[in-house]
Symmetry: C2
DNA sequence: TGTACATCAGTGAACGCGCGTTCACTGATGTAC
DNA sequence: TGTACATCAGTGAACGCGCGTTCACTGATGTAC
């Protein structure tokens, strides 16, 4: 990770300057993962991490904000992928399913994705804060609509499957998002509090909000 | 509130320098309420707001952190008081109550206090972030235990009354806190999201977590 | 009622810091002859 | 195989900024005689 003495960087060959761009984003991402928040992330620190002087960054990003946007966009995509990749522990074959089995499979997917979301947030609070924290909207991110939309969709889909016509899937998914966000940020900032078991807490929310029996 | 041209301040008389201390805390509090976060709050800005030079602050606070702690401590007390003051809309006389009435009264208190908490947070996101945000623990606040403890107690008490022996009051109160925190912070930072009705959302959480019938 | 004095609330200049950003430049590399 | 040259990735110095904090001081006030 970060070394006290920055490694001097071998200069790229002409035509390969683009490589530096990736290295810069990588370094910014690594620092963001270590540091507490995007606000504490300075261009100069990123340059130090890469082994470069700060002005060299301007060949690839016209502004600090633009660089941060690149980092955050990549992380958003990564989080959405992590949710989609999260599989329920005991996935059964999709065939020979009645409606009840389908509902319970969808609930398992919800559980798996909420666990993935919370794990992602708790592992790197600084990254999470950059995505969903107080200054998230100042980063100039412009997806279609809200930047968290792809992530939210990965939650809304299985909730819809689980509820079918019986319930307001949008409201339930929103409530789940709120609960997960609360878990990640409060557990990160209130280290002194006596938090119970994480999975049990998540499970309480999923069960209560989806009217499902608890698994633990 | 803040004026562009700071009002020149009349010098306190000898022996009355202590007055400045209160004015400084008031100004810092006002700026915190306006600004987004404590990190953006500078000693010099506070001094400007009071109509004083920055070094004058050091007569009353040895450090910026100590000043912020004073502000935050006062706000914590204010939030706890706001919760305790929150009364259910239709409070009935305490006499002639059976167990069922007592439970429903306790649930009403829970509803009232959660509404008060969320209202407090949404009205002043900067203040709220200073109390419960990512950097809250760096403020050097030392109550007995965690600084939010008095606030948490104001929530735990009615939850305990509502549940009696049937349920884990600590877990439910914790979940409610998490949900409220999620509501406040996500609604503050994700302004672009289509949030539904606030009271309805809060109500869903209270009902789901306390196994109570929904009121709306 | 008048003067000398001590108190002390608050000032003004200065410090060193890290920041984002600009600018003119250097010097290793690949290419053309 | 050797030399001149153009490219361009990255450097180094400098800018103005606001910050927290320090220090020696000023000058209005209340008090003692």
């Amino acid at each position: 990770m970060t070394s006290a003495t920055p490694a001097p960087r071998a200069r790229n060959r002409p035509g390969e300057g683009g490589r530096l761009r990736d290295d810069i984003v990588d370094a910014a991402d690594a620092l963001l993962a270590d540091a507490g928040s995007a606000a504490r992330l300075s261009l100069r620190a990123i340059a130090r991490e890469v082994g470069i002087t700060a002005p060299a960054i301007y060949a690839h990003f016209t502004t600090k904000e633009q660089l941060l946007s690149a980092v955050v966009a990549r992380r958003f995509a990564g989080l959405a992928q992590a949710l989609r990749d999260a599989e329920p522990e005991s996935a059964e074959p999709a065939s020979t399913r009645g409606p009840a089995e389908q509902r319970s499979a969808a609930i398992s997917t919800v559980r798996a994705r909420t666990r993935a979301y919370v794990a992602y947030g708790l592992e790197h609070p600084g990254v999470y804060a950059a995505l969903f924290g107080p200054d998230a909207d100042h980063l100039g991110l412009t997806y279609e609509g809200s930047p968290g939309e792809e992530v939210f969709a990965a939650l809304l889909d299985p909730v819809s499957s689980a509820l079918g016509d019986h319930g307001d899937a949008l409201a339930v998914a929103t409530d789940l998002w709120v609960a997960m966000h609360g878990i990640v940020t409060l557990r990160s900032s209130q280290r002194g509090f006596v938090w119970g078991d994480l999975d049990a807490q998540l499970d309480r929310f999923v069960s209560a909000l989806l009217d499902a029996p608890r698994t633990r």
